[in-house]
Symmetry: C2
Subunit: 410 residues, 2 copies
Amino acid sequence: MPIIAIVGAGFGGLRAARALSHAPARVILIDRNNYHLFQPLLYQVATAGLSPDEIAHPVRAILRNQHNLEFRLAEVTRVDLAARQLTLSTGSLDYDYLILAVGGATNYFGLDSVSKTALALKDVDDAVAIRNHLLRMFELAAQEPDPDTRRALLTFVVVGGGPTGVESAGAISELIRLVLTKDYRSLNFKEARVILLEATDKLLAAYPEPLREAAAETLWSKKIEVRFMAAVTDFDGSRVALKGGEVIPSRTLIWAAGIKAAPLVDTLGVKQARLGRVIVSPSLQLPDHPEAFVIGDAAYLESGGQPLPLVAPVAIQQAETAAENIKRLIVGQPLIEFVYKDPGSLATIGRNAAVAQFGKLQFHGFIAWVMWLAVHIYQIIGFRNRLVVLINWAWDYLFYDRAVRLISSE
Amino acid sequence: MPIIAIVGAGFGGLRAARALSHAPARVILIDRNNYHLFQPLLYQVATAGLSPDEIAHPVRAILRNQHNLEFRLAEVTRVDLAARQLTLSTGSLDYDYLILAVGGATNYFGLDSVSKTALALKDVDDAVAIRNHLLRMFELAAQEPDPDTRRALLTFVVVGGGPTGVESAGAISELIRLVLTKDYRSLNFKEARVILLEATDKLLAAYPEPLREAAAETLWSKKIEVRFMAAVTDFDGSRVALKGGEVIPSRTLIWAAGIKAAPLVDTLGVKQARLGRVIVSPSLQLPDHPEAFVIGDAAYLESGGQPLPLVAPVAIQQAETAAENIKRLIVGQPLIEFVYKDPGSLATIGRNAAVAQFGKLQFHGFIAWVMWLAVHIYQIIGFRNRLVVLINWAWDYLFYDRAVRLISSE
């Protein structure tokens, strides 16, 4: 039986594995983590609302009943397209077909100092590090006599006006103003600032104008300083420098300003487009290696003259197409081309506020927030996770609380 | 107003802080973590049944309504009894009264190699490290062609026949035989072993003979090899050496063989008894420093000719006495002496099995297990934690599952 190797157990890799459940092949899924991460809620781990196990689910548990599947916990260090072989941290693996679903990595746009000192938000470790950092700033501020140092400890800068930046800034502001005010009675919360920096003049650029305006309004109403045309040039751990000379004293810089294709694809020796994404054919194959497919954030394909966005629905739909095409290759049928169906977008800005777009329908405020809740509860993998997340959200909503205010060791 | 410093937010320190809520004093509670840990369930974090936030609760949230209390997140590095001053990692603190509730630390009895390579089970980081390690052994075994190496990967040695060792061994065996068998279909679970090593001829030495026998029977029925008179002399990460020359190839040694007083008390320059515990007067004071109290695992006091055990009820009851005596010192009243009231003991050995002793009453099996559940659900701090723990336990019981099977980075 042919071996189909799938690299990455994110939204794309997992869906591809499932779509191949009845394929006449050995499907081998490889990931460096033993869990699938529900990334859209990562910022809630970073802001103490959820614990990591509520948004991460063991891959083996998800795919337990799929009998043609093997899981390998390993890092893929090299792809030899010519020899059809993967080098893993635990050995090597020969494949007949390959699906690279390796996702994205944080893009610092060449800012070395920022890449070393800023906090990213891409995996569970990042999120836990942000949670620890935020809470530690408050503990230090509570013991800090110098007012300038204290203000720098209580200034939280988020960079990037995309969904991750907007959602993170909203959640941090609510963590501070609804929860931590009750924990730190000795602090003067007038000293606390949350600043969202966006290098262009648009928040949530993928959304239509009215929703973008509504999002900015909501952020302001939550006392978040929204700064447009503000590009970060340097961060040394205590001062954020902006283009134009402005300096913001702050101990915290959360970098949500961009992603790029995961670095593994840089080693393939194939043609890459913007953000390092690998150029694939409409059937999602590498031009010179028809047995190798790339999907999701790491793949570059245009739709209607625009590059496909780096979002989960693209990865999931491409997984279906790649799996279908491998099944067709096995039996010698002609391949299909990928067509993206935009399911709409949702972003939340905290309690009672979100923006949503489905085709020509637009929503914002409470109604969009309820949609956001419903969609996300539904999508979280595993019935127990859903139940526990629901309890946590209901509790937080009713009691203005966050459960997971633990500073763990790193 | 006088300053009362309490070092440690464990069972003793937390209770002392609460008991001083109406004292005419500034109460300053110091801990190196920002949470109180419900240690009796730590082994369930180590075996993927609970997540850390379910047994850890932020100190500030617990004591939010106590207006004479301040919390400081800091490590206490030095106690100057003569100057009545604490050196903290964040500065210094002068006190008028002191309660040292610093608890215990893992005791390796001078076995250097073991202290470097074994897994301890004393705090949240330890528990998460054990969880990661156990799951990683299975992932490595699933990819390991050599049968000898594979068997060593699947051999789990727990050292110590006290409650922690017995509960851990039981939980590991159930994790393997009820849950992981479903996740790793390619493994032959006949190769997996759980071994409990006890240096004396008794498990659960504090319990009466019939319960000790019942506990050993139950462990055997759960396919745990219980070895008496087995003293570990060395562990290099792949081989456990026993006194007498026996060698067990194993990658895992969980050390639950003993505790001692936390190392901070070694720096006090006062008289210490066995396990480094500080000798206190019947009113729990240091003989030459009547303003300084030591309680819990770090204090040495006899009751009925026997040293008091290193258990939570002693720490909690001593906290009440120490708090009362400080209030009496402030107003110049005569002090009271500590009298221990044994509330009984409970230890669980997994699904449907536990041993319990309350005075002359003894229970084992299902009835003791139900008592254990009720007592522990009741004791967990915070209504939400109780609810989530209850859901997790019910789910695990009904579906033979463990929720938190995540391998996180360390």
